[in-house]
């Protein structure tokens, strides 16, 4: 049993205990807190599996903002769950048990955890990477392929892209790689990008935007699945707009904004006041750094929203409204989506396809890709943070019940 599997087993046990406790606990308040614990533990599971971006999202969204929003809903409801008369519904129990058994049976066919021979490593991921990545498809606007690269052979090649070395530091795989054996890439091409081998990105096909976007998750989300991410942002935008339509009441003239700031907690107030600029800075770092490491627009946006929420918690919502008036929040919500689609439209106007970022920099397409992705991440970040802030504001508003 390796350490990864050992830790994974114990963590999953803890997660199960927490999940059962969430169901069993009568007090909704405790239940909300246990949900936050659940998210933190689940994020640990993702970290253990090396899926850093998922862990980032789970920690920021699950552990942070959704707990705050759950607490926000508790403002409007009772704190105790009504006791239910437990009555076993036999038909439903049988159906649930059968579905569960079928799902468990289905997992037997899945590839083992971390199996290098899993289909995903051989078909989908190389294909996605190949469509977006630098010189691989060698079409107009992309960087010319280097000497010895056969694009046609690469596209028609449907087998394993790389053989996975046991030791990450092992570089002998380049010579023995299946691609090299098929004459599709020459080993020297891979050898010329040592930063990938160091960062653990050597398993990818030849190049990640020529080293400009080493985080493959970001390059997939922002480039290959650019449309999906754009419409996900639009979904969040729509959610924010519908929440405003459902919950926001026009404020009567002369009615003072009620609030209960936490000003009597001196130490808490001072520490929060000091830490808010750093939290904002870290949020911007997460958004900007999304193409290099884990993180991106969604996570960074949530962190920024959390900083503003902290300000509102300590100093009261009127103080937040002096910093960010509601009309500005509403405007910024739309601006994020505009930045995203505007980047796409700019690529269109420059002669490329929609969201074909390499058009943004004619001299070095790789730089253009990086620039486009940063812009897009900022768009996502602005929309997400402002929608989260809007949801918080609407939930905290006590008059709306």
């Amino acid at each position: 049993m390796t350490s990864v599997v050992l830790i994974d087993t114990v963590l999953l046990l803890l997660v199960t205990v927490t999940a059962i406790a969430i169901i069993e606990v009568r007090n909704l308040y405790t239940s909300a807190m246990l949900t936050s614990v659940y998210s933190l533990l689940m994020a640990l599971v993702w970290v253990n599996m090396h899926s850093m971006d998922v862990a980032f999202t789970e920690a920021a969204v699950g552990g942070g903002i959704s707990t705050i929003l759950l607490i926000g809903t508790l403002v409007h409801t009772a704190r105790e769950e009504k006791p239910l008369k437990v009555r076993v519904h036999w038909k439903a129990a049988v159906v649930t048990a059968l579905t569960g058994a079928a799902l468990i049976y289905g997992t037997f066919d899945m590839p083992r955890f971390g199996d290098p021979k899993a289909p995903i490593h051989h078909f989908r991921v190389p294909e996605m990477m190949a469509q977006t990545v630098g010189f691989v498809n060698g079409t107009k606007g992309k960087q010319a392929p280097p000497e010895g690269f056969d694009a046609r052979a690469y596209r028609s090649f449907n087998g394993a892209v790389t053989s996975v070395p046991d030791d990450p530091k092992d570089t002998a795989w380049r010579e023995t790689s299946v691609l090299a054996q098929h004459g599709i890439i020459v080993p020297e091409v891979l050898g010329s990008h040592p930063q990938h081998a160091e960062a653990g990105h050597h398993l990818h096909p030849p190049d990640d935007f020529n080293g400009h976007v080493p985080n493959s998750v970001t390059s997939l989300l922002a480039a290959y699945r650019g449309y999906d991410t754009m419409f996900e942002t639009t979904v969040i935008f729509t959610a924010g707009v519908s929440l405003i339509m459902l919950l926001r009441r026009p404020r009567r003239e002369g009615q003072a904004q009620k609030s209960a700031p936490l000003l009597d907690q001196t130490i808490l107030r001072v520490v929060s006041k000091m830490s808010i600029p750093f939290i904002l800075l870290f949020g911007l770092y997460v958004i900007t750094h999304g193409e290099l490491g884990p993180g991106g627009g969604f996570q960074g946006g949530v962190v920024i929203a959390c900083a503003f929420i902290l300000y509102a918690l300590i100093f009261g919502r009127p103080a937040l409204y002096r910093v960010l008036p509601p009309p500005v929040i509403d405007m910024l919500t739309g601006l994020g989506v505009l930045v995203y689609s505007g980047t796409g439209a700019a690529c269109l106007l420059l002669g490329g396809k929609f969201l074909d970022y390499s058009m943004l920099d004619t001299v070095s397409p790789g730089e253009g890709e990086a620039l486009g992705m940063t812009l897009v991440e900022y768009g996502v970040g602005i929309t997400v943070s402002m929608v989260m802030l809007n949801i918080f504001n609407q939930l905290a508003e006590e008059e709306s019940r």
Binding site: Q265, I267, L268, V271, S275
Partner: protein
């Protein structure tokens, strides 16, 4: 073993002992204030010891700075949170435990 690995091992072992003690205290102590007494301090110290221990074996400077800064954030945030919880509990008239009075809900 290199000298920095020995330092790390000692610090990690110390951190483990301190943090496990705190966890046990959180479970075993009779009321909120005594639990806070064990968990509040050990949470900061044990975690800080482990992080500083890890900083000794960090290969590059940037990551080392990040590890130390996480330790610093913990050293500021965890006591602040503990203090705020205590103050809230005290303001809500949560009675401390004594031999004659078991304490409990305000």
């Amino acid at each position: 073993m290199h000298w920095n690995e020995i330092v790390t091992t000692v610090l990690l072992a110390l951190g483990c002992v301190v943090s496990l003690t705190g966890s046990l205290g959180l479970l075993r102590m009779p009321d909120f204030y005594t639990r806070l007494h064990t968990s509040g301090k050990t949470d900061s110290l044990g975690q800080f010891l482990i992080l500083i221990g890890l900083a000794f074996v960090t290969p590059d400077v940037l990551t080392c700075i990040k590890v130390v800064s996480v330790g610093m954030i913990l050293m500021i945030a965890a006591p602040t949170a503990t203090h705020a919880i205590t103050k809230a509990a005290h303001l809500h008239d949560l009675r401390p435990w004594t031999r004659s009075d078991p304490g409990g809900e305000p």
